[in-house]
Symmetry: C2
Subunit: 592 residues, 2 copies
Amino acid sequence: MWTYQAPVADMLHVMTRVLGAPDRWSEIPAFDGLDADTAREVVQQAARFAGEVLAPINANGDLVGCTWTANGVTTPPGFPEAYRAFVDGGWPALACAPDAGGQGLPQLLNAALFEMLAAANHAWTMYPGLLHGAYEVIHAHGTDALKERYLAKVTSGDWLGTMCMTEPQAGSDLGQVRTRADLVDGAVAANGAPVAITGGKIFISGGEQDLTDNIVHLVLCRLAGAPGGTKGLSLALVPRILPDGRRNAVFCDGIEKKMGIKGSATCQMRFDGAEGWLIGEPDRGLAAMFLMMNAARLHVGLQGLGHLEAATQNAWRYAGERLQMRAAAKPQGAAADPAGADPIAWHPAMRRTLLGLQARTDAVRVLAYWTALLLDEHEQHPDPTRRATAGGHVALLTPVAKALFTDLGHRSADEALQIWGGYGYVHEYGIEQTVRDSRIAMIYEGTNEIQAVDLVQRKLLDDGGARAQALLAELECEVLLCLAQGSLQPFGVALSGQLSAWRQAQQALLDGCSADPEYPLRVADDMLQGIGHVLMCWAWARIARCSVAPLAGGRTAAQWQAAARYGIEWLLPQAQVHWARVARRTAALPFV
Amino acid sequence: MWTYQAPVADMLHVMTRVLGAPDRWSEIPAFDGLDADTAREVVQQAARFAGEVLAPINANGDLVGCTWTANGVTTPPGFPEAYRAFVDGGWPALACAPDAGGQGLPQLLNAALFEMLAAANHAWTMYPGLLHGAYEVIHAHGTDALKERYLAKVTSGDWLGTMCMTEPQAGSDLGQVRTRADLVDGAVAANGAPVAITGGKIFISGGEQDLTDNIVHLVLCRLAGAPGGTKGLSLALVPRILPDGRRNAVFCDGIEKKMGIKGSATCQMRFDGAEGWLIGEPDRGLAAMFLMMNAARLHVGLQGLGHLEAATQNAWRYAGERLQMRAAAKPQGAAADPAGADPIAWHPAMRRTLLGLQARTDAVRVLAYWTALLLDEHEQHPDPTRRATAGGHVALLTPVAKALFTDLGHRSADEALQIWGGYGYVHEYGIEQTVRDSRIAMIYEGTNEIQAVDLVQRKLLDDGGARAQALLAELECEVLLCLAQGSLQPFGVALSGQLSAWRQAQQALLDGCSADPEYPLRVADDMLQGIGHVLMCWAWARIARCSVAPLAGGRTAAQWQAAARYGIEWLLPQAQVHWARVARRTAALPFV
């Protein structure tokens, strides 16, 4: 049966030994007093919550799903109680600023928390998933009056938030948003102005729920007379319950029947002149929302990591228990089972799947935590140069993280399912739910194709390649460190080759984009996947170098090394396909 | 919304122009009188049944699923009526021998039929899916007495059949089957001997249903005193209702809650001394079942093709209708939409997805139909040399077809889902059901990993490579034909390169397998994928060469050419990853 236990020792090993987070925290005054022990304490407690409270209600949440009536939404059994425990534990405020009632801990620890929540119960995690974003918007853009009313409640998690962006005709193309904001009470258009909101929104996660007394909707809308397209969008804060206790005119007209995350209510929302207030400057709503985009996209990437981890640990367990057929070779010293069959973990095809799962999980965790660490440095480091460099890295890494991790999370779970054979197709064994749940992360918060376009147009080409050069220089250090140690030569050589490939591809894009503006778009997905492989190669090299004496309670040095080695030997060759496609500038892509 | 209309003109184009089936049928006396017109008539009628009867009950069948009680199973609304219409139309007997009441039409037409059934409604198709196999077993192995009682009813489809193989401890490893057969009435062990069957079976598709009065179970079992492993397995025919009208002691104890094909009842079966008869020789049960394995595995491959086609045609339609954002380039002469957004089919990432879907669908259809055509030649050609050659090709092609087509069917549907964005995740749009339904085909009838092992061990290495040489020689002809025409040079060059790569990989396997017996198993999946790419390349070349003037009502020559060209330019490079992995004999695959 499906289970989830956070791999605490492995997570801490990545944070401390592979990434050296405590040393980097010590440079940031805001994290004064934070050390490896505090981090361990936080991760252990979060692991307990994820494993003991959330994981046990995951499968049933999928079976029961949410129930809609005109009066509201009922979430699956145990979901409200788990949310109460989450709030009581102080988890929502983990990475919020102390001046807003938060604990001021790093994004990195928040990332570890959300990896575990998503792994244990993705559907449930959708409810608090947007909380930090709502907090950031209110914290950064809210007038004092709005902050006074909403910030503390959102920081604590007593009230949940939503992001009301999508409309039927406005998915990837938010410029087509039609929801109307009308100024009321003679107000002029300005931050905090009272407005009446009218329109329909779809795909609103947690638009209705039974976890909190109030819901704070952040609604993308358009003031009368505002320009068309994205430059005329404003953002409004619309509470479900108004300050005077009246029910606001915002209604959930139905919920979607979805492939997965069935315990998360995906709501069709109707605003019938609902009362609200502008938050941020008029016509600058998209910018206000994009402020939190890096963190939000990384959070979706963490869902990919969570699914990868859940699939990997369940696959290893099952493959060790299930006996089928004699294997062609056995582990040294292993006794043959008297039943006449060996664990399927010994069969070559299964070993490939298992090692592939582990190698991807390890690399993605290193990259996810590294991005979170850079996000902290970008936001909080005292040295402006370090802030700027970290910010550049984060900008480039974010679309790759979102697309690569969610892609790997889903595809790896789908691959893992094969280990269970026919049982994998049966709900009871859990892996098919992981496959279904993980699929959404490739779509929302910008589809993975949109991420690739963002990467090439706004991260690789907009600055003539400067951001890419800076990141390449950083990755290059690992080549030198690996080549300096005999046993790590293969990692140094592999990474060096990948960095050259990226540089060539980068140059090809820069050279080719003006004569043929569509060229970068045709190869955007390959560029993202190619860079994703470079980054995984870097992570495997770093793991190999830094895992000589991993933390007790986690995997052994040999286990870390084996997965990293599998990564460069069996998985990395895939990068060549992507680089070759980028290099073939003239390959036809007709309209048919 | 999801729809399915069989692409009749395209299917017939592949049969007649690309593969030249009518000319090949004319060499086979059993198909006397069969021509392109008859084939068209059959395909058109089947298309009407699939599109008008089965497709409309597909989505609801998924939502409602099957209901189990101790008295039996209720299939989704419309399923029994559709099955009645299927029987009344004479479809079950299409490719059965005239002496058994069949129509004696080619496997190729039966393949086209099952492609359409699976595309329109995979879950429903599970019920008649095993019928032809049951027919073949009874036809080939049944005593006259058993044939007398069961053959006509199974040929006509009045009674359905099941294959009872899997037990909880015996999935891929059928040698562990424990179900017991006890001889009764003092019979000696021989074909047709009466037996009492005792044991439990799982994952039995259609073990109970409400479509037919009787069900004919074919049960893998073991006589008392028989050897262990697969060499001690016998096959028994066990009817649900006995000839004298009594209910036999075979019961369905429950059905599985599955990821997909929810309208298909996947039953846990209990045999409590159920009455039956041996069919085929004692201890030769697996051989009797394997007789029909090539056809059965091809049929599963056809499910992959069906899902590919369904995903492809729905994706093209939706991408043409959905308007989001301005495209960087437009089709020549296309007018910009006044709404300020272009069809997503114009965006490069979507064009890649759409062309990739079409290229795979086309190649898989060519390969599936070709395999079916070879199966007919193997079974019915008057020239024994032709029969033998065709038999060798079929043996090699079958595991590739099963694994490659189902892999592509599922993965392509999953890729297609992305085209719908958030709507893709919602049940109502249908594509997520295709993703879920298609997943099972990678597992049953031998997992795709088992197919790869079968390919390397029993098809590529067991005869020193002779079968592979024969197929390579056949494929080589296409190189010569393409190189002879200027415009087809790229296809000839690509195919020539792939054939060399296969030859090298083949040699590496032959050279390396004795020193390191596990080596072929480590690279089995890559060998299968590599050969799959060679075959797709051959299909694209053949399509390009033979689609100068395609059948009216289908796609234009330019459309066929564009997809084939996309195949060799964008998809074929993937083959290199597989060949490179096969070539690296020493890459580590540790036990961890």
